[in-house]
């Protein structure tokens, strides 16, 4: 029995890893199955395949029709979660702990034995095209799609929504082939958090997923060589959307926690730099933030603000100014607040099964192991203001990729 906050790990011979964290005081269990087969491994010319495939899986599996399958999930009261993302596809949910084995059996059908009925393909394709179109009515989301595209010239620049050409080129047969190629156990991760008995859980997982075989195609590198400096998307909106992206350090880097605390000083709570300088002191926007976009083996820092056109230039200038100014000095109190906030949120999130399952699956995917709460705590506590300043000297905020969306372009730094 591991200590509170600790977890079990089991790697099956077929390459599937099970990570599980017991939270015995809780009545629920949450699980996530991750397949490392997201949009970056969409076949060239068929961008959007991962999304259509994931959607089609729910249209019948293991001898059940789409409706029978959906009813079976609902009969367990299962709260569904999962989607096709850039690097991975996830399937999962949360429910009362006693029903976990039954839910896992249903998801084994969904992932290993989907019917992928050809007659259902046109509806799924139509939905995918509409969801891509919906981006036009969601300026902030559209900004981030373009920010990624401007930053990563290769497959990492894609959106899981796909491209219109890619979605139109897809066929029912292509999706079936794609399924056979991609839904494989090697590198897959099943994370469980909540109330369970480990022996029973590992037996269930062996029984349900033990016979599954094969490896999915390898993932491309997150290469940003040749990225754009500035891209403007003309669109008539009430607010100008501003996005900035520049290189960060990946999760396995020794300075990861230093970087994380630097970002928390910038954009942790409401007393952090960006909120204070851009919103509280100048009233330039409602939403302003910075965060880390973490991928396997790579990371980028993203900053965002939305503001009305007459103040857009000032907002961009102030935003960049704050990103750069961080290297000039940090108060001990600023770091202390960032640290307190992070440590408190660690404890508070440990009460929520779904948040824990996400932590497990993310760590296992990014690092190949799960960090304990104590390890994260030690990492955070070791960070000093000097270490952050030294880190910022080595990795200054510069060489930005900037994207704006609105009526007219802005002046960006050379």
């Amino acid at each position: 029995m591991p200590l509170p906050g600790a977890h079990y790990t089991l790697r099956l011979p077929n390459g599937l890893t099970l990570v599980a964290e017991p939270i015995p005081a809780i009545r629920a269990a949450a699980f996530q199955m991750l397949l490392p087969s997201g949009a970056i491994t969409d076949p060239e010319g068929l961008e959007g395949a991962a999304t259509v495939l994931e959607g089609l899986c729910y249209r019948g599996a293991g001898g059940r029709t789409a409706r029978q399958f959906s009813d079976a999930l609902d009969a367990l009261g299962l709260q569904r979660a999962g989607n096709a993302d850039l690097e991975s596809v996830t399937f999962g949910g949360a429910l009362l702990a006693d029903d976990l084995p039954e839910a896992l059996a249903l998801y084994a059908d969904l992932i290993l034995r989907p019917a992928l009925p050809p007659e259902q393909f046109p509806s799924e394709q139509a939905l995918a095209l509409q969801r891509l179109e919906r981006l036009e009515d969601s300026p902030a989301e559209k900004l981030f799609v373009h920010l990624r595209r401007a930053y990563f010239p290769g497959p990492y620049g894609r959106t899981p929504l796909g491209s219109e050409a890619g979605l139109r080129a897809l066929t029912a047969d292509a999706v079936r082939e794609d399924f056979a190629r991609r839904y494989r156990p090697e590198g897959a991760i099943l994370a469980v958090a909540g109330r369970f008995v480990w022996g029973e859980l590992s037996d269930t997982v062996h029984r349900l997923f033990g016979e599954w075989e094969g490896a999915p195609p390898g993932q491309p590198d997150p290469d940003c060589t040749g990225r754009e400096r500035y891209r403007h998307i003309p669109q008539e909106t009430n607010q100008v959307q501003i996005g900035i992206q520049y290189p960060g350090l990946p999760a396995e880097h020794p300075e990861y926690y230093v970087q994380r605390m630097a970002i928390a000083v910038l954009s942790g709570g409401m007393s952090a730099r960006l909120f204070t300088e851009v919103r509280e002191k100048r009233g330039l926007c409602y939403a302003v933030r910075a965060g880390l976009l973490t991928m396997r083996g790579a990371a980028a820092i993203q900053a965002y603000a939305g503001t009305q056109p007459d103040r857009a230039q000032e907002t961009l200038d102030v935003l960049i100014g704050e990103l750069v100014r961080l290297a000039e000095g940090i108060e001990e109190e600023e770091l202390a607040r960032a640290r307190t906030g992070l440590l408190a949120s660690l404890v508070m999130q440990s009460e929520a099964t779904r948040a824990r399952a996400l932590h497990l699956v993310r760590d296992q995917f990014l690092l190949g192991r799960v960090r304990s709460l104590d390890e994260i705590r030690a990492g955070v506590e070791a960070v000093t203001t000097d270490a952050i300043l030294e880190h910022l000297r080595q990795h200054p905020a510069r060489d930005f990729t900037i994207v704006t969306l609105g009526s007219s372009p802005l002046e960006v730094p050379a």
């Binding site: 005081a25 629920a28 729910y58 249209r59 789409a66 409706r67 959906s70 009813d71 999930l73 609902d74 009969a75 367990l76 009261g77 299962l78 709260q79 569904r80 949360a94 429910l95 009362l96 509806s123 799924e124 394709q125 939905l127 509409q130 969801r131 179109e133 919906r134 036009e136 009515d137 969601s138 300026p139 008539e236 909106t237 009430n238 607010q239 709570g269 409401m270 007393s271 909120f275 204070t276 509280e280 002191k281 009233g283 330039l284 409602y286 939403a287 939305g306 503001t307 009305q308 202390a336 607040r337 307190t340 906030g341 440590l343 408190a344 949120s345 404890v347 508070m348 009460e351 099964t353």
Partner: protein, 409 residues
């Protein structure tokens, strides 16, 4: 799990559900004021005032408020609705005292002119932000159309015009009337030291004076209305559907909740099979929103503009079929289980639990434990749903469509 309740001499109500096993403590002021309590010329003042409460007090500057929340590692925020304004925070148990000191002090804000002017800019940005979100706009429009001249139709954000014209003195007067202690409930959940909380808050609020905080309750009868809001800049058709539900005080809230879920609560609902599965609409949603003395079902769908009429015709067909035939026991059984599960998960953390503890008290002056709520969901039958639908709530369906459209039917 222990529950507590006390009304202080000044009229302030404190309630708490104490769970010593929890890892955090959550507290929140539930103020009985919102968009429905505003005169038309100060539309948006409740929400603007919510922002202003973070701008400091007699003994705290705006910076102090944000800084202190962060110093105690709080997960904190505030929100404004039609009927309530809520300020909340969750902290590790040892910071309960500082959290309470801060939240309680915030209820007596300075409302300084220079902060008012600065924050007005932020509010205008927030309004602009939501104008770029058609899904939000169409629901807001539908609320106004459905509730017509009833105060429940009023906008939480207000308009660019109402906020631009708002003067600080009007806000101060509104605050005077609405933030009297007898109009506030301070709720607790999680690992709370109740006795210490009562002692501290009693001391901190001893100068507070009760006042008359009336709320208008005009009659309302739902009428089916159809409204099209043409906007060529929008790409999709965004549809909102509203029909009568039951109030937060009604014993039928759980029945209404399940009916909303079965008809249109996302994947696996009847609207899903009718519209999303065949690829006619890219999303559907339907939820029941119970409020003070009234309640309504709010639905949403988005589709290709040229398919609007077909989507609407099918949606109406789904409502008519449910009204005529009701639901099977199996269907109700699944919905019961989903609702029970969702409640368990949402209330795992003290902060999730606080929301329910606070609103249960504000609307019904009672505690309902998670187990009690689950039992209530699990006891809903197909017959209960049939009886509910005999009143034919979906006959009064209000429809609002936003997008590159001229007509919908």
């Amino acid at each position: 799990m222990k529950t507590h309740h006390i009304v202080l001499d000044n009229g302030l109500t404190l309630i708490g559900e104490e769970n010593p096993a929890a890892l955090s403590a959550a507290a929140g002021y539930f103020v009985r004021t919102g968009a429905r309590d505003e005169a038309p010329e100060v539309s948006g003042v409740s929400h603007f005032l919510e922002h202003m409460l973070f701008k400091g007090t007699a003994r705290r500057s705006a910076d102090d408020v944000n800084r202190e929340f962060d110093e105690i590692g709080a997960d904190y925020n505030a929100f404004t609705g039609d009927e309530y304004t809520v300020y909340y925070g969750a902290v590790l148990p040892e910071e309960q005292g500082r959290l309470l000191d801060l939240l309680t002090d915030m209820m007596r804000p300075s409302l300084r002119d220079e902060d008012f002017v600065m924050e007005k800019k932020v509010i205008l940005e927030e309004i602009a932000l939501y104008k770029d979100r058609p899904r939000f706009c169409v629901i807001d429009e539908a609320r106004a159309t459905y509730y017509y001249q009833h105060p429940l139709g009023q906008s939480v954000l207000g308009s660019t015009e109402s906020i631009s014209a708002l003067e600080a003195d009007r806000m101060r007067a509104y605050w005077e009337r609405r933030y009297a202690p007898n109009n506030l409930v301070l709720a607790f959940a999680g690992c709370v030291d109740w006795d210490a909380a009562v002692e501290q808050v009693t001391r901190a609020t001893r100068e507070w004076r009760p006042a008359d905080c009336p709320r208008e309750h005009p009659d309302f009868v739902a009428q089916p209305r159809v409204r099209v809001v043409p906007d060529e800049k929008i790409h999709r058709a965004h549809l909102a559907l509203v029909s009568p539900g039951v109030s937060a005080q009604s014993d039928e809230v759980y029945v209404a909740d399940l009916i909303g879920d079965m008809v249109g609560g996302g994947d696996g609902s009847r609207l899903y099979w009718s519209l999303v599965e065949p690829g006619l609409a890219d999303s559907v949603a339907l939820t029941h929103d119970p409020e003070d003395r009234f309640g309504a079902f709010f639905g949403y769908a988005s589709c290709d503009p040229e398919r609007t009429a077909e989507v609407l015709r099918r949606a109406r067909g789904v409502f008519e079929k449910a009204t005529a035939e009701g639901f099977t026991e199996e269907e109700v059984g699944r919905a019961r289980r989903k609702a029970a599960c969702a409640r368990v998960l949402h209330q795992e953390t003290p902060l999730g639990r606080l929301y329910h503890v606070g609103f249960d008290w504000q609307y019904r002056q009672e505690f309902r434990t998670v187990d009690e709520v689950i039992d209530r969901y699990l006891s809903v039958t197909a017959d209960d749903c049939r009886r509910f639908l005999e009143r034919r709530p979906f006959d009064a369906l209000t429809v609002v469509a936003l997008g590159p459209l001229e007509t919908v039917e």
